[in-house]
């Protein structure tokens, strides 16, 4: 009889809490539509892996299907790489080519990664350098980069880091506006920016992903899997001769890998590893990372304005779009601009900055991957 009731007798209160966490993620996905493609599978994965005996992970010495997926897609970083190919095929660098200066906002808005990494090493947090780097990378606002770096440096933290990265990406409309308002005046938020339609040579669109990959390969060779896969997807898109492959990458590949990635990430949220003070600290610092990202971009734009003539100043809200959360951040900033002054259109600049954030986040991820092992092996 005990054998029949083992499911009821072996459940712990911690597992009960994880069912609630999983349910909360599913509810957020369904009712609020916060990153539903990821939060829903993550939530369900969290419930699955915490069911009694955790058969989906391992049972009687044999790997369960979630462990097979984890070993085959997360441990070897395959899923994030495949997602990058899909994302690359979705990115149109056109708005950036038309406003190349926007690329610098994509650099400035990576401040959150480094600031948070620094904070994570301070008391009372006292994380190791690799753990701090993995927490800081939440500020990349880029799920695959966060997963890639965390799986290399702090595999035990993969669950909370992934949840934080995707949750805060979904919460960009709530996180960014107050930070932007705090750091800018109404007058600054009303700055108009002229948009000039510039022609972009086709060869540039094709050469760009190749050149970017090569530069990344020389600057930080360890970043090539990240940059190379993103740029491969973009090359397939821009080549103009692989339309079916481009569509496949943007649709079937993206959806299939996202489906498996989400539930596999959820399986890393086992109660014994997830329910601790460390998880709360990671979630808190993820928010700090997004705040610093936004502040870094806005303050850099204000700095640039000090050197620009009066009629060519940039709307500092554009700086906030330098994070990788595309296209949500650009939409948020355009909405703010329109609410500050009706008819103020800065969307194309915002998109240029937002696309730059996608480049900036993988370059920053590459820098972290290259630098940390130099100091701590």
């Amino acid at each position: 009889m005990d054998g029949l009731l083992i499911g009821f007798t072996s459940v712990s209160w911690q597992q009960g809490v994880m069912y609630l966490v999983g349910a909360a993620l599913i509810i957020l996905a369904v009712t609020k539509e916060y990153e539903p493609m990821l939060l829903l599978p993550i939530g369900f994965g969290a419930i699955l892996v915490n069911l009694p005996l955790s058969v989906v992970w391992e049972h009687e010495g044999a790997a369960g299907f979630l462990k097979v997926l984890y070993d085959g897609g997360i441990s070897n970083e395959l899923f994030p790489i495949l997602i990058f190919i899909a994302v690359g095929a979705m990115i149109d660098f056109g708005p950036l080519f038309k406003n190349p200066f926007m690329i610098f906002f994509g650099a400035a808005a990576q401040l959150g990664i480094f600031a948070t990494m620094l904070i994570a090493t301070l008391p009372p947090f006292n994380f190791s350098l690799k753990e701090a780097a993995s927490i800081g990378i939440i500020g990349a606002a880029d799920g695959p980069t966060a997963i890639y770096v965390a799986s290399k440096f702090a595999r035990d933290m993969l669950g909370p880091i992934s949840v934080a990265a995707y949750s805060y990406m979904a919460l960009v409309p709530l996180i960014q506006p107050p930070v932007i308002r705090l750091l800018t005046t109404h007058k600054e938020r009303c700055i108009h920016m002229e948009y000039h339609e510039a022609g972009v040579p086709r060869w540039l669109k094709i050469a760009f992903p190749i050149v970017v990959t090569m530069i990344a390969g020389f600057v930080a060779p360890i970043s090539v899997p990240l940059v190379g896969s993103l740029m491969f997807g973009n090359l397939v898109r821009e080549s103009g001769v692989l339309e079916r492959l481009s569509q496949t990458a943007q649709n079937e590949l993206a959806y299939l890998v996202t489906l498996l990635l989400g539930i596999t990430i959820g399986s890393s949220m086992r109660a014994d590893r997830f329910l601790n003070v460390q998880t709360l600290m990671i979630l808190g610092m993820g928010l700090v990372a997004f705040v610093f990202d936004t502040a870094g971009g806005v303050l850099f734009a204000k700095l640039v304005n000090l050197f620009l003539p009066k009629d060519r100043k940039v709307n500092p809200m554009i700086g906030a779009c330098g994070i990788s959360a595309f296209p949500m951040s650009a939409r948020v900033v355009q909405k703010m601009a329109a609410s500050e002054e009706r008819g103020n259109i800065i969307l194309m600049h915002a998109i240029g900055s937002n696309v730059s954030g996608q480049l900036g986040s993988i370059v920053a991820g590459g820098m972290v991957l290259a630098l940390v092992p130099l100091l701590v092996g």
């Binding site: 690329i103 480094f114 540039l204 990344a216 370059v363 100091l375």
Partner: protein, 50 residues
């Protein structure tokens, strides 16, 4: 650079994080600046429109 990194190896974790932050952020700016230069030169050079 080697001496700087060697010095960081023997520093506290926070100083190491500070060093990585400084080098990393500078690296991101320099790398993206090189992308900017490529795009700017290519657009200036002109050519067939997409």
């Amino acid at each position: 650079m080697d001496a700087f990194l060697e010095g960081l190896k023997h520093s506290s974790t926070t100083v190491q994080a500070l060093g990585i932050s400084a080098i990393g952020l500078a690296g991101v700016f320099i790398t993206l600046a090189s992308f900017f230069a490529i795009i700017w030169l290519a657009v200036k050079a002109g050519g067939k429109k997409a």
